[in-house]
Every structure is written in structure tokens, then in C-alpha cells.
Symmetry: C2
Subunit: 90 residues, 2 copies
């Protein structure tokens, strides 16, 4: 999961997806980055395999959204590493 977020391009893609209030079209992601469409597709697969995003198809288009369960796992992992009194901090 950390590995999925360790590449800067992929992290930025994830941030973009996470910033949306609705699923975002893959084509819109391709438009916003300098890398090629296959590279974006590859990154989406990595993020998907990590459980961080979900994909839904509408016709030809692919719509990506954050998988809340993945984020929860990530947060819980971090919290488990924190000393208790620090974990209580908000």
C-alpha cells in the first residue's frame, strides 16, 4: 500500500482522485499529466491492486474513485505505529 503511493506521479494521481466529490473519468486524468495514456493506465492498476481506488465502467469510459476501505486500512496502519498519547491527538 505504501509502495503504491511511493511513486510521485502515482501519488499525485491518487490525490486528484481523492479530491473529487464524484468518480473521475480516466480521460480527465490523462489530460492532467504529462505521462502517456498507457502509463496512467498502469498506475491506475497499481492503485487498484493496492485497494486504494475502485473503477466503474460506463460505456467506453472508466471512472475512478477512492476506496474508503483502503484509506481506513492505511490510517489504521499509521495509527498502530503511533504511541497512544500521540494517536489521541487530533
Amino acid at each position: 500500500m505504501h509502495k503504491a503511493l511511493s511513486d510521485s506521479t502515482r501519488f499525485e494521481i491518487f490525490r486528484l482522485v481523492a479530491a473529487q466529490s464524484a468518480p473521475i473519468c480516466a480521460c480527465d486524468i490523462v489530460d492532467r499529466f504529462q505521462v502517456s495514456q498507457p502509463t496512467i493506465s498502469h498506475h491506475m492498476k497499481v492503485l487498484r491492486d493496492a485497494g486504494l481506488i475502485t473503477v466503474s465502467r460506463r460505456g467506453v469510459w472508466a471512472y475512478y474513485a477512492v476506496d474508503p476501505r483502503g484509506l481506513e486500512v492505511l490510517r489504521d496502519t499509521i495509527n498502530a505505529l503511533m504511541p497512544v498519547q500521540l494517536a489521541a491527538t487530533r
Copy 2:
């Protein structure tokens, strides 16, 4: 920061350090992993450069501890990615 935790050996080292109630000696870390001493030293440097751990010297020995500020940054980064109602979940 995610990159620092993306390697499995390094993540396990960090988990070991985080699990201690007092700083842990580098020699004890070397003892618990299969990799060589220089490799451990390299990983400690990566974790240190990422702001995740701190080191203090006592004589010949190096003692490592989690840097709470790094963990806070990490947690805040994750929280910033979460939808508000999910971030409120405990």
C-alpha cells in the same frame, strides 16, 4: 515519506523501532534481520532522511527512536486524502 516505508524490510525495521518504549540499539536491529549490517545502516539513513526516526549516540552505540513529528505528518497526509465524514471515524 511513503517511499521510505515502501520497502518491506525498511517497513519492518520501522515497525520494530515504533514498537519500543525506549530507543533501540542499532546492534539489536541488525540481530533481528537477515540482511547485512551495512544494509541496515542504509535503511536507517533513509528513514532518518524521511524524518521518520531520530538517532542518538551513546558511545559507540546508536539508538534509534520514532520521530513523532514524522508520524504526525504522515497521519495528516492520510487524513487530508479522506472524505470528511470518514476522517471523523475512529
